[in-house]
Subunit: 455 residues, 3 copies
Amino acid sequence: MLTRKHIILPVIGFVAGTVACLPMLASAQSDDSLAERMDRLEREIQEREETGFAFNGYARSGILSNDEGRRGVGGPFSTPAGSVGGAVGRLGNEPDTYYEAYLTHRSIASNGTRTRFTAMIADSLESNNDWTADVGNLNTRNVFVELSHLPSFSGAFENSTIWAGKRFDRDNFDIHWLDSDVVFLAGTGAGIYDVQMADAWRANFSLYARDFEEESGDVEVYIGTVNNFVGNWQWMLNGISAPRNRDDGVGGGGEAPANTGVQTMLAYHGDSFFGLSDGFFKVALLYGARLGAEVKVLGGDANLQDDAQALRLAIYGTTYLSENWRLAPAIFAEASQDRYVEDDDYRWLTLNMRLVREITSNFELAFEGTWQTMDLEPEGYLDRNAVDGDFYKFTVAPTFKPEVGGFFQRPEIRVFASYTDWDSALNDYAADDAFGSDGFTGGQWQFGAQTEIWF
Amino acid sequence: MLTRKHIILPVIGFVAGTVACLPMLASAQSDDSLAERMDRLEREIQEREETGFAFNGYARSGILSNDEGRRGVGGPFSTPAGSVGGAVGRLGNEPDTYYEAYLTHRSIASNGTRTRFTAMIADSLESNNDWTADVGNLNTRNVFVELSHLPSFSGAFENSTIWAGKRFDRDNFDIHWLDSDVVFLAGTGAGIYDVQMADAWRANFSLYARDFEEESGDVEVYIGTVNNFVGNWQWMLNGISAPRNRDDGVGGGGEAPANTGVQTMLAYHGDSFFGLSDGFFKVALLYGARLGAEVKVLGGDANLQDDAQALRLAIYGTTYLSENWRLAPAIFAEASQDRYVEDDDYRWLTLNMRLVREITSNFELAFEGTWQTMDLEPEGYLDRNAVDGDFYKFTVAPTFKPEVGGFFQRPEIRVFASYTDWDSALNDYAADDAFGSDGFTGGQWQFGAQTEIWF
Amino acid sequence: MLTRKHIILPVIGFVAGTVACLPMLASAQSDDSLAERMDRLEREIQEREETGFAFNGYARSGILSNDEGRRGVGGPFSTPAGSVGGAVGRLGNEPDTYYEAYLTHRSIASNGTRTRFTAMIADSLESNNDWTADVGNLNTRNVFVELSHLPSFSGAFENSTIWAGKRFDRDNFDIHWLDSDVVFLAGTGAGIYDVQMADAWRANFSLYARDFEEESGDVEVYIGTVNNFVGNWQWMLNGISAPRNRDDGVGGGGEAPANTGVQTMLAYHGDSFFGLSDGFFKVALLYGARLGAEVKVLGGDANLQDDAQALRLAIYGTTYLSENWRLAPAIFAEASQDRYVEDDDYRWLTLNMRLVREITSNFELAFEGTWQTMDLEPEGYLDRNAVDGDFYKFTVAPTFKPEVGGFFQRPEIRVFASYTDWDSALNDYAADDAFGSDGFTGGQWQFGAQTEIWF
């Protein structure tokens, strides 16, 4: 028989158990709001990651000296072939401070459209001094806006990005070890990226303007670009127009500067090291005629003639040879004719190899060897003389870095010694270039220290 | 009768129930600290929102070309009247890249005082090239500190902000569509904002210095300002003093450059579109004498004479005509006499209208029409000739933006075509201005693409 | 006797009590994940504090006018002694806008190595105008990378930081009130900080390069530095080499410019105000010979002769005299001979004192008195004349700041009046310096307003 006790006792148990839980109940109620506050905070943090300010950059800075204690001579384009784009290896070969600071603002509209604004300032300094107002080159290289995720865009344009302003094109790419872009499309203009032409085919379209005459701006150059991507393949086609170049152009010793040009590039971006091992490789074949015979800096040379032609090849990649050895070879070559003067002829070929032995997680030994052969017949252009000969450079660079593990891990802080030599014939090419200048006639060591970073 | 069992049993129930809750109890205890940690985190996040670094900016960049493929000629001040401040519509009329990057640091002292430091760099580039070290204009336009919320300030000063340094005055305002400030007070100085003179009356006081001779700095100009705000009304009074201008001034062809000046502005900042519909409107009437006859850029013209006078009117606003049509008209006019030479006389009037049809959430069609009439009698100043005539411009600009919805929604990416024409008499005004120059004699189309952003 | 009821009833109580807690149980489970999310968020926030972008800066900006309304003349180095480093007090004595903006990116590698990249731009402007493209000095003063916490570094190097690039040395220090560094090591190079030589002894080693000829860069200067710290003591030793200076140097009127130099500094960094009260004091004795006779800016003077010698002393500190009075005295003196011409002789001594009365938490009155005596015998160098005389300056500066409480609390917004006078003999020192120039011949008041900040 159930008595009152039989009811009272469990009630006491229930009440007591519940009361013991009461402090928790209070906190449990605030838990709900805690979770909500946490959600809001996480969203806020996430949003700040994707919007607002972003800082990116590239920099190199250091010293290069010869064995007399004078500033070293160097740079990837310091050989005679460099005057027509023939770069050599950059390691232990750079006397300058150069940096780019990207200041970016990002926002997301309530309809989901994403905005990116970027201003980029850069400076190039030969001076080692800390105050360079008189000799510095601080200037603005990029000021542009990109819009993406536009809800009004559908079909082929669904994933497209539109842009306008002054910029380096998004899809430029370079051979880092030679400090040379394979293609460098830049200027002021507008365009659209990532139009989906077919399932596996996307394309960029753009119009860039540049100036042959910086001051007066009377001779503008227009570069119209179609840049196609199908799988690993890229096919780029550029038409160049500078209608006033023949009449009003700066000429610079040339005879019949071209008003138009065409350039095209076929490239393969490989996911492995030539199918042999992990890593990557790239092959690019470039052809240009008339103003397009400057096949890298599109619309960058006012003095090219109507008959000018150039064919350029770039092959490079990186891989690990073993757990601790990395390898990065590059081939870069060009043949061009009738560039600035009838019958001129420029041929050069660069073989470059960077080899790195990782020693500890913070230290590695980098080696770089470059051989460049050139046969240049300028036919008197800019009082330059025909030369035929070879250049080579060997560099060893003990290198500190935050963490070894790849060719593109930065920053690096390195000391280095470079030996360069060349056929003395190359000293005759030009009176105003480095080769043959006081104290730089071949067969010398140069020394230095440098840092390099990108982020 | 209650036996021990009757006590023991519910106690067992209580204990067991409580024990079952123990894991919760543990988490409940950590709940307290969770809430505390959340509080701290939210405070920290909030503080970071209000302190530390902030990035703001303005930018426009694009290309403007004529139908011969040359760089287009333009700019809001390219007409003869532009030489004395007569702006025309900017849409499809700007050939440059211009940007301002504001780098700001904010902090809050333990007593609550708020500090804001801002440095602003700007560049103006006609060149379309990506490397502009030789022709660029990168420079510092603002370096100043503001202090607000000072606990020592009370009474009329309780909500005041004090500042010193180089800056654009906080309360400048502009007619965006004409790219002309109504008043532009800027230079290096110090001042106080928001002194509460009476219940509805607040005032700013400041002293700015500028230089007529940039290099030597011998001729300094001082601008003392009282800027009053009562409801929607603003009354600004400026006294200008350049004691050495008559003796040492740059003169520039003038006869008796003034040493002093006065400028005043009465403005109404309307909360609706002239009381007719939602939107805003502003009316400003400006008068200046002697150095104050440059009524916009205060202390900005060294060559004004003792008899110089100017009267300027600005009326503008924006509204929606219907759900998808926006309208922004502007009237801008000035009459001035005895500016640089006795009996010279400058009169100009600009009517401008921007009209926009919103098509999708990302796209709109913008139209702009400008008519400017001018009657300028420079009496030989700077070898300029008297001209009398009209200018007009019509622009259509298909425009992409993150989200339509107002005249001040940015960024925009636009392509445009502009037709400009003018009375051929205007070509004779000056030998060194755009009008009448090679290929720019009236009746031409110009084309381009441009982005514009502020944030 | 225990019946089933005796068991069942409390069990029901237990179950019911527990079930009542179930909603809490659910939230308790989510508590675990809440705590985890909180942990993650706190880590993320913390990481963002230590990595990514950081903005730091220094700025001063304001106006300085004489009683004729012309730009004031001034600057800590405007006296004849200033031409050889003899600074005077800076308060109410600066006519310029100067700022430094440090843009820093920090990251932490997965192995713990920390990276810091800093680019610093600076501008120095005499012009009060807001557009200074033609007269500005915007330039890049620092571009460097530091690596620290390298796991591969152990023993003496465990806490070391390595760096390379263009920079101001980390361990430079200055007498703020005179705007003079005690030692200023800067340029482009590489080095290591904080090598633990023994228990209480750490040392920095570095090699900096500078240029005597900015344009050609033919005359490089190298500064090798060992900088030792033992307790409060610092001993710095610098060797300077510019092997081409005698043959190719800029010379500048000198006779036999030196190719080498040596400089050394012994300094004591005191933790109290000379042992008398709270605060700090520093004493530094510097000696240099040949190129080292410029004892402050290491490698900064190309024209020093082989016999040049200099001995410099700096003593300064700060303390509170009472609750509201602060005191900061400084002694700065140098004797040097045979600097630029045989038998030239330069002697100067500066006594400076800043005294501050704190009035409210936002306001204080600052006073500064300077007396400088000099006896300069340039022996015709740069057509300068021998002078012997005294200079003094007295300044009063009502000062607003976010919070009073120390000599290094910034920002400050101040107005000021300065009286300067000097022996008229000093006007004869040089034709191209400020002393004796039009309107600046001694015995005058100057007025102004200025802000100063660092963060």
